[in-house]
């Protein structure tokens, strides 16, 4: 059965490996699944003007972002044959090396899982009103630009 209810997407701080492991474990009872596709976005320690990015602070236009996540999710269920989908994005501070985006798509077959996962990540980056503030070691910052 497809899961279509609205769910909370935002997590305070990083997405932990334990949270991800637990999410995978919870799918062992869904035996119609044959493939999971997972994307993990990790905060990269870019060097900008000789300053190292030590963390990204995420903020969002929360109401609009939740609606947009919902729309993107519904579109993926419409366009691909999926069993379930879980989307998580960090808010607040996430240190370099930590995970800030977790996209988890499960389907009976791999093609749907892989294609849906890729499309979801691209749409999330492009369409969801979230902003990242790159914090440098000297406490200065700049607003992140997605490429």
């Amino acid at each position: 059965m497809k899961e279509k209810k609205k769910r909370t997407v935002f997590i305070d701080g990083p997405v932990t490996p334990a949270f991800i492991a637990d999410a995978i474990q919870q799918h062992s009872i869904k035996t119609d699944i044959g493939a999971h596709s997972i994307f993990l976005g990790q905060v990269r320690s870019d060097i900008i003007n000789k300053q190292e990015v030590v963390a990204i602070e995420y903020s969002a236009y929360r109401e609009m972002a939740e609606d947009k996540f919902h729309e993107i999710r519904e579109d993926a269920f419409r366009d691909f044959s999926l069993t379930c989908m879980h989307l998580y994005h960090s808010l607040g501070s996430v240190k370099s090396g930590e995970i800030s985006l977790f996209v988890f798509v499960s389907a009976p077959h791999r093609q749907d899982a892989i294609k849906a996962c890729e499309l979801l990540v691209e749409r999330i980056k492009k369409e969801v009103p979230v902003w990242g503030k790159e914090i440098f070691a000297n406490n200065h910052y700049q607003w992140k630009k997605n490429t």
Binding site: Y61, D67, E127, P129, V130, W131
Partner: protein
């Protein structure tokens, strides 16, 4: 008419907080003109305007109860 405007990211830095009220405007073109006067750095910024959480593509008439938000380019993920 007074319109309350939500600001985010770099724009919140420029306007000094998460929301502000702009007076004597009737549409989004007037809003942008006022913003450019009140906050000159806004003139060189690229941003979208959302009215009631939908991004608008052309000048839009505003009603008092509308929620207007100024959205710099997104950088989530």
């Amino acid at each position: 008419m007074d319109i309350s405007v939500l600001t985010f990211g770099q724009i919140a830095d420029i306007t000094g907080g998460g929301s502000l009220t702009i007076s004597n405007i009737n549409d989004t073109d007037e809003l942008m003109r006022q913003l450019n006067v009140l906050f000159p750095p806004m003139q060189s910024l690229r941003y979208s305007i959302a009215v009631n959480q939908k991004i608008i593509r052309e000048n839009t008439t505003l009603k008092k109860a509308d929620t207007v938000a100024l959205l710099p380019p997104f950088s989530g993920g």
